[in-house]
């Protein structure tokens, strides 16, 4: 599979579009189906495809395991951090309205955007870590 030129080139062409589609899903979630979780999965899918075609070692050069783990932890911190931030701004936990002191609706928008970003980051990181763990096992370390 790793030497088939059609697959290699097709992957190269498709990867940016998959990433772009993930971003579309992420930011269009307010208006249509989609959101952080689905976007994270699609984002990770791009890397999974890349790893399948170019080999897991190459994929690890692009996105090392450590970075993916970092993403996994970072997303939770972003999400909970938004909650702490609204608390410090005088509201309740995750009360996004307080993110904007003038316009509560805008605060809600901002809050939802941020937490969806947190979800995206975690889901992306976790999916890649899990894929690396399963696919890398028995080949790299034997």
């Amino acid at each position: 599979m790793e030497s088939n030129p059609i697959l290699r080139i097709a992957t190269k062409i498709m990867t940016p579009y998959i990433l772009l589609f993930a971003l579309y899903v992420q930011f269009h979630g307010d208006y249509g189906p989609g959101g952080g979780f689905q976007a994270g999965v699609i984002f990770a899918a791009a890397f999974v495809l890349y790893a399948l075609i170019y080999g897991i070692e190459t994929a690890r050069l692009v996105l090392p395991m450590g970075v993916a783990t970092l993403c996994g932890a970072l997303g939770v911190l972003i999400y909970a951090g938004v909650g702490i931030a609204t608390m410090l701004l005088g509201g309740g936990f995750l009360e996004y309205g307080f993110l904007d002191s003038h316009d509560a609706e805008h605060g809600q928008h901002l809050g939802i955007l941020l937490v969806e970003l947190g979800v995206l980051t975690t889901v992306f990181g976790v999916m890649v870590v899990i894929f690396y763990s399963f696919a890398g096992r028995g080949r790299v370390e034997e």
């Binding site: 307010d30 189906p33 959101g35 969806e116 990181g125």
Partner: protein, 199 residues
Amino acid sequence: MVFNPCKKKVGRWIIEILINVFLLSMLAVTALIVVRTQNLFAVAMLTGIYSLLSATFFTLLDAVDVAFTEAAVGAGVSTVLMLGTLSLVGHRQKKQRTVQIVPLLIVTVTGLILMYGTLDIPPFGEADNPVHLHETTVHYLEESSHETGMPNVVTSVLASYRGYDTMGETTVIFTAMVGVLLLMSGRRKDEIGGTDDGE
């Protein structure tokens, strides 16, 4: 989103029912084949198909976000995970009797109790079911647009009204990562040697 709104209500209703029954039968057939199939690769693919079929069904039931996620997760992530596992553990299942009495009994009893429980459940699809009349549902549908400014109510409920659940969900995913790393990182040889401890 699902159907053309101009069509006559009755006609649309009948078509929905027909598709309903069709999808449910397909789901049942897939599930039954899973029970009988011994080749685990085939089982993994069938699970993917099962997820895709249920995603289709979710679309029919107006749950587009759920359908999207089910397709991405059930048919995508789960299948990839399953195939990854099978490449490590082999794909042959040992032959065993398909019908086992005790589990069959447990399952039948559980199923019958559940069916008994649905006898008084509010009818499917009626607009005056308690689920639709409860104040929270009304609040979501009527207030969400000006409280959060989101046309997609699922997103606003997910990220704002029940945002705390979603934080829990993110944590669950993170927990899965921690768990998988704890179990799968490190070298294989050490672990096999380490199993003899305490014997």
